[in-house]
């Protein structure tokens, strides 16, 4: 019996141990992952350094990586490059981070009961390239003046020596916030942040050159060079950027173009290229040649060439429509007054340029008066088409198309042209007279 009793006690102890083990296992599994317990878990790895990457651990110990490797990174680590090095990291959850020269950041985090852990890269100085894949990530990049909240994207963020920061979004959407508000920054746009101010409205820019330095890190051939010197891959030729038409000069009048005319089938997602093509087609149908493309914040603009118009806003006949000076023989039907004026070199008359602006941003004109000599060149100085990276952009629900109409008048020969502001015709009359709305299906 005693033996039996001992056995029972022993069995009970064993049973209790098993349960204790299970309980401990469960407790470890379900205990909320908080910063305190997350200290020992690697948050990612340093994969490659062209030059040398220095990782300063929380206890002050420094570790270095040159060439390829798999150095674990932990919360609290400070990661830095000198002015001859660039490096590539991979954080958990498909996040690639590139450090340009002279860059330093600290890996920190925020834990929320409702959302778990958000990884934060606290950029002190330099430039980071970040690319995420596989959906939305809980990743943010802090600079001294702003925070970039990653929404599934590729971007470059820079903490400048003067204390300001720049965000360049290569693809996707990034929320860029300061204490004064948040700006959504989309593909191929740039925003700037400084202490005490809201981040600037995004401006379209060619962001390709900004990412060229990452080529050395991502190119597998370049990686064979290992540490020591920087073997930068030949940078891809930068895509030509569109000139900027922002803020536009004061117009004679303007008219919003109904979305239904540009996106008639609202059930399918439309790209900027689709909308631009539809607009170009409508212009071509009415005698306009290819327009000039410009960039505006979060959108684009398309500008028609200077045309001569009648006092009723209809275009003049084709033989004189595109000429500033009129050939007397071209006046059909014959009109003695006009013939004499033309013969005497009278170039008086009305002229028009239409700038079609597509943007979700409210248009506030610059206050500068448009000049006919400059307006004459707008079409030629603009791009001939949308760059590929912009053409793929989705034409969102918030996009608004606005026609800014610049009407000029040369009262008589030799007199300077002036902007008619306002025009005697409203925007709708101009667009109807040009038959553009009709061509769009309006």
């Amino acid at each position: 019996m005693i033996f039996s009793g001992c056995s029972m006690v022993s069995a009970a102890k064993k049973w209790n141990r098993q349960y204790l083990f299970l309980f401990t296992l469960l407790a470890i599994s379900f205990f909320p992952t908080i910063a305190r317990s997350a200290d020992g878990v690697a948050v990612g790895f340093a994969k490659k350094a062209v030059g040398t990457l220095v990782v300063v651990r929380a206890d002050g110990i420094e570790e270095r990586l040159s060439g390829k490797g798999r150095m674990p990174l932990f919360e609290g680590d400070v990661v830095r490059t000198d002015d001859n090095s660039v490096a590539l990291l991979e954080l958990n959850s498909d996040i690639q981070v590139g450090l340009n020269r002279s860059t330093s950041f600290k890996i920190v985090s925020r834990w929320e009961k409702a959302n778990g852990i958000t990884r934060i890269l606290r950029l002190k100085e330099g430039m980071l390239w970040v690319k995420t894949s596989g959906g939305v990530k809980q990743l943010e990049v802090e600079t001294p003046v702003a925070i970039a909240v990653v929404k599934g994207t590729e971007f470059i963020i820079e903490a400048l020596k003067d204390g300001t920061s720049n965000l360049k979004v290569i693809e996707g959407l990034v929320e860029f916030g300061t204490a004064f508000g948040t700006c959504p920054i989309r593909t191929s746009t740039v925003s700037h942040a400084e202490q005490g101010k809201k981040c600037t409205k995004p401006v379209v820019a060619d962001v390709t050159p900004a990412a060229n330095w990452t080529a050395a890190l991502l190119d597998t051939k370049a990686s064979k060079n290992g540490g020591g010197t920087i073997a930068m891959a030949a940078p891809a030729p930068p895509a030509p950027a569109l000139p900027i038409f922002w803020p536009p000069p004061d117009a004679s009048t303007h008219q919003k173009i109904p979305r239904a005319l540009l996106v008639p089938d609202n059930t399918h997602a439309q790209t900027w290229a689709n909308v631009a093509a539809r607009m170009e087609k409508a212009l071509a149908k009415n005698g306009y040649s290819s327009p000039g493309y410009y960039s505006v914040p979060e959108g684009f603009a398309l500008i028609s060439q200077l045309e001569r118009i009648n006092p009723d806003a209809t275009p003049t006949p084709p033989n004189e429509r595109w000429k500033i000076k009129v050939d007397p023989a071209s006046i059909v039907p014959f009109n003695l007054g006009a013939y004499l004026k033309a013969l005497l070199g009278k170039d008086a008359g009305y002229f028009r340029v239409i700038a079609f602006v597509f943007t979700p941003v409210s248009i506030v004109t610059s206050g500068a008066e448009a000049n006919i000599e400059e307006a004459k060149l707008w079409v030629g100085q603009g791009g001939t088409k949308l760059p590929r990276i912009l053409s793929k952009q989705l034409y969102g629900e918030d996009m608004v198309a606005t026609a800014l109409i610049y009407e000029f008048e040369i009262p008589s020969h030799g007199e300077a042209a002036r902007l008619n502001k306002p025009s005697e015709h409203n925007g709708q009359q101009h667009l109807k007279a040009a038959k553009i709305l009709q061509a769009l299906g309006g």
């Binding site: 834990w111 925070i147 202490q195």
Partner: protein
């Protein structure tokens, strides 16, 4: 017939009232019950926050800050969120006071020391001693939206009455930095004395501070951004609260840690005088006055308790055990 009509009418009214009452009850059921006034104490060596009923002085709960060295506290105006700095972790804990649990933890900077909420409760400013910075935490999404370089070893933090200026005491530089809250730039530094720590907005709209490394307190006037008064109160002064003694007041109650007492200071324009000294316990640090100004609550670092004094008689009316090394005491309004 008439009586019948009246009865029917009354029944309808009664039914209608019942329906309204039921509706009201339904609405009330969905409304969380208001909190009773509570005192929160940050226990630095326990990594916890003690929650004490301000009326019965009983401990209601002890909240794990989920970080190390819980040091300073700031309570949102509605009393629902409590922000706690944790020196060793460099993290700010966010505590849901209704659920009495930590719901978030944000790394702000090395050795984050004090926290203060902007007057609109939109941002929590956290002073990081180890980095000589202030982190600006957006209280809505808990993101750090900016960092301000302020000076060596920022340890005290408060805002002016109009919220246009923040005052940051820098123990290393022995000064108080004045930060313009519209530009986030330091516009002035005011020399104040040895090892300045705690700062608070006084009932007179002036900024009161203690030189913990010395033996004095000082007053800054936001109108001129200058130090306008100073007074020796005893060794190692820590924190300041404002209360009344009958008709007298408001008086400043200063925990004088090195003397194990609270010094009661009268305020007459720029003239300060110690009029009383109350023995309060061993190494008093955190001090709080109730909204009526009739009681002070003092946390004693060595005896690990919160003592409540009646300011009319200077007598102790309660002594509640708290966690180890209680540093900061705050109180909800309701």
């Amino acid at each position: 017939m008439v009586i019948r009509t009246i009865l029917i009418g009354l029944s309808i009214c009664l039914l209608a009232s019942c329906a309204e009452l039921a509706e009201l009850e339904k609405k009330l059921a969905g409304t969380p019950a208001p909190l009773s006034p509570r005192v929160y104490v940050a226990n630095e060596s326990s990594n916890t926050v003690s929650v004490i009923d301000a009326l019965t002085f009983q401990t209601i709960a002890t909240i794990d800050a989920k970080n190390f060295s819980t040091h300073d506290l700031a309570l949102s105006r509605d009393g629902t969120l409590l922000y706690a700095t944790n020196l060793a972790s460099g993290r700010l804990s966010v505590i849901d006071t209704r659920k009495m649990e930590t719901i978030a933890s944000i790394y702000t900077g090395s050795r984050c020391h004090v926290v203060a909420l902007t007057n609109d409760n939109r941002f929590a400013w956290v002073a990081n001693i180890g980095e000589d910075t202030i982190s600006i935490v957006d209280t809505e999404d808990l993101r750090i939206v900016g960092t301000i370089d302020v000076g060596k070893g920022p340890t005290g933090l408060t805002f002016s009455r109009d919220g246009k200026f923040a005052y940051v005491s820098n123990q290393g530089d022995k000064n108080v930095a004045v930060v313009d809250t519209t530009t986030y730039k330091v516009i002035k530094t005011i020399p104040v004395g040895t090892n300045p720590h705690f700062l608070t907005l006084g009932p007179d709209g002036r900024i009161w501070g203690a030189n913990s490394g010395g033996n004095d307190i000082y007053v800054i006037d936001p109108a001129t951004q200058t130090k306008v008064a100073t007074l020796e109160v005893g060794p190692n002064p820590q924190q300041i609260a404002f209360a009344y003694k009958g008709m007298m007041g408001p008086n400043a109650y200063v925990t004088v840690s090195g003397a194990n007492q609270v010094a009661v200071v009268t305020i007459h324009n720029n003239k300060l005088n110690v009029v009383e000294r109350i023995p309060v316990g061993n190494k008093p640090n955190g001090i709080l006055a109730n909204p009526e100004g009739t009681r002070i609550y003092v946390g004693n670092e060595v005896t690990n308790d919160l003592r409540v004094f009646d300011t009319g008689t200077n007598t102790i009316i309660a002594k509640t055990p708290v966690g180890h090394k209680p540093i900061r005491v705050v109180m909800s309004r309701n």
